[in-house]
């Protein structure tokens, strides 16, 4: 049986404290790309009781995604937005989800991301990562952006880190390991990077200053 909403909130408040949980519950976070990074980021944030997630991906679940992305074999062929929404609702039934099955570009990014307090970049291609960083940081001056760059391969887990680039821009990953080097992707190392990104979201929300800009990593 699914717990009632107030039971879920009470359980979260027991773990995070009431004040912090209220910050999480009132936050809107966008996740751009729902692959290995984005599906894991979304699940961490849903479990933490983030109030609303904006989920964006144009693609469908493929058999080659299952080794690192949070989908099930029964969901092959579904849009990732639909499949992840289904999975997130099973974990956190009262979370608010807004799903967009579109390809993000310079022209639609501002409309899609307008409502988000914090944006997680979780694309696959380096060019798309750079496009989102430039678009958000140039045109959306009050938004936080947390990018993922460098999590391919089977190198040490310890090289995945979070780095503050500006007051509003953080990068997670080793910033070196490139999928195009043919090193493959491993669920555990991709999850580490996703966990860094999700954790940075929670750290920004936990900041008690008005603009939340004085966090150093």
């Amino acid at each position: 049986m699914i717990p009632k909403k107030n039971e879920m909130i009470n359980a979260l408040e027991m773990r995070h404290g009431k004040e912090l949980q209220e910050r999480f519950s009132s936050a809107t976070v966008a996740v751009c790309g729902l692959g290995g990074l984005g599906s894991n980021i979304s699940i961490s944030l849903a479990r933490a009781g983030i109030g609303k997630l904006i989920l964006i991906d144009f693609d469908k679940v493929d058999i080659t995604n299952l080794h690192r992305q949070q989908y099930k074999a029964t969901q092959i062929g579904m849009y990732k937005t639909d499949a992840l929404s289904e999975n997130l609702k099973e974990i956190s039934p009262y979370i608010e989800l807004e799903a967009h099955t579109v390809y993000v570009n310079e022209d639609n990014a501002k409309d899609l991301l307008n409502e988000a307090d914090i944006i997680c970049e979780a694309f696959d291609k380096a060019e798309c990562k750079a496009m989102l960083a430039n678009t958000v940081l140039e045109n959306m001056p009050a938004k936080f952006l947390i990018s993922g760059s460098g999590m391919a391969g089977i190198a040490s887990a310890n090289t995945i880190k979070t780095r503050k680039v500006t007051d509003l821009f953080y990068i997670c990953g080793d910033e070196v390991s490139d999928i195009s080097d043919g090193t493959g992707l491993f669920s555990s190392r991709v999850m580490l990077c996703a966990a860094h990104q999700a954790h940075m979201v929670l750290r920004i929300l936990s900041n008690k200053t008005k603009e939340r800009r004085n966090i150093n990593e």
Binding site: A126, E127, A130, A133, S180
Partner: protein, 64 residues
């Protein structure tokens, strides 16, 4: 002197575009930050590096 990705370089007076041409960065995969703010791609030509500027070129790699 200009600090770029931690390295002190004697490139005052050069534009961001001119500096990038001296490097191997792929322009489609980067974002450039100068003194805490992002430099819009449309302004790489007209942004002239000045003495004391602190610049970072963020170069993204694929995978996600």
């Amino acid at each position: 002197m200009v600090k770029i990705n931690g390295e002190i370089l004697d490139i005052c007076g050069m534009s961001v575009s001119e500096y990038l041409k001296t490097t191997s960065y792929d322009i489609k995969r980067i974002a450039v930050e100068c003194n805490g703010d992002i430099v819009p791609k449309s302004k790489y030509d007209e942004t002239i590096l000045k003495d004391g500027d602190s610049v970072e070129v963020v170069s993204f790699v694929g995978g996600g």
